[in-house]
């Protein structure tokens, strides 16, 4: 995690606080909404102030997630059009009938404007495999032209609303590690099925219980 990554988090916190300033609390707000707003402001202010305690707490939460590294890349206009990039550790995807696949590592691209505007369509998840640019499906629920966010959209939208970067990156882990076989979007390989390199989800390997245990023990 670089100083640039931390500075970009602080930038996002300031931008969110500007929203709170520009849309002041109304006495007509329900008390729950007032509390939610106050909790969000209390979370954001120390990040905007770049207080070490708040930053260390956030960095600790990020380190606990299944990511190898976090980076930030500035754009032409600095932080405003830059993006965060997280690289996951190898992940296991589990279906709701408990079948499991080794899906390897992914990069998660989170543009600053995507966070500030809660634009989920700007977020990209890409497997770390050769020829990624020619793939159509990167995951059973994420292709080059469509993403089935399911309930994850709510968690992600809420996390973006308050700049909770640990929740943002954590939600992607939940998304990538979940598979609902009823999805019409794309199908991962079945056990024993081998797909040609360069085809959709060819890198995914369905696991039996023994293989799952050995992978979990190795980590």
């Amino acid at each position: 995690m670089t100083a640039e990554f931390i500075a970009a988090i602080s930038y996002c916190a300031v931008e969110k606080l500007k929203n709170f300033r520009d849309y002041p609390v109304s006495s007509r707000y329900y008390i729950d909404m007032q509390i939610e707003r106050a909790t969000a402001i209390n979370y954001l202010v120390p990040l905007a102030n770049r207080e070490h305690r708040a930053l260390d707490e956030l960095l600790t939460r990020l380190r606990k997630l299944k990511y190898e590294k976090y980076e930030f890349f500035s754009g032409e206009y600095g932080h405003a059009d830059g993006y965060f990039l997280g690289t996951t550790r190898p992940l296991i995807m589990t279906s709701d009938n408990d079948e499991k696949w080794n899906i390897g590592r992914y990069t998660i691209k989170v543009p600053v404007q995507g966070v500030l505007n809660r634009s989920l369509e700007t977020f990209k998840m890409r497997p770390i495999v050769p020829d990624v640019e020619i793939l159509h499906a990167y995951h059973p629920h994420h292709t080059s032209n469509h993403t089935c966010w399911s309930e994850w959209s709510k968690s992600l939208t809420e996390a973006c609303a308050n700049c909770h970067f640990d929740r943002i990156f954590g939600t992607f882990l939940g998304f990538l590690q979940s598979y609902y076989p009823g999805s019409p979007l794309a199908r991962p390989p079945e056990r024993g099925e081998v797909r040609d390199p360069g085809t959709d989800m060819y890198w995914m390997v369905q696991l039996n219980q023994e293989e799952v245990k050995s992978i979990v023990l190795r980590r």
Binding site: I6, V25, A38, K66, C148, R167, G174, Q177, S183
Partner: protein, 105 residues
């Protein structure tokens, strides 16, 4: 690990427009008898966030019951990016994301 040194290299930012927001927020929470280290937040599948006062670490099951919330039996819980069971204990200041899986998506 360079995170600590990175954080230390960043200079303090002088007081700014958010100071007033911060005072307003602190007053709101104080009036409700809440402090950020005495609550657990819970984001619901409908996109709302519940702020629940607690006195110490509490299981998600008890957190839901104490807050008077109802939850689908198929609800999944994520804490710190990891799926956890309903009896997982969460410390004050923590956050629980609740997701209810759909059969297609």
């Amino acid at each position: 690990m360079s995170d600590q040194s990175d954080a230390n290299n960043i200079t303090e930012v002088p007081g700014n427009f958010w100071d007033e927001l911060s005072r307003e927020a602190s007053l709101t929470l104080e009036e409700q008898g809440l402090a950020s280290n005495q609550v657990i937040t819970l984001s619901t599948p409908t996109g709302q966030m519940a702020t629940i006062p607690v006195e110490g670490a509490v299981s998600i099951r008890n957190l839901i019951a104490n807050a008077g919330l109802t939850m689908s039996p198929s609800a999944q819980f994520v804490v710190d990016g990891t799926f956890v069971g309903i009896d997982h204990e969460v410390a004050p200041g923590g956050h629980v994301s609740v997701s209810v899986p759909l059969k297609a998506g």
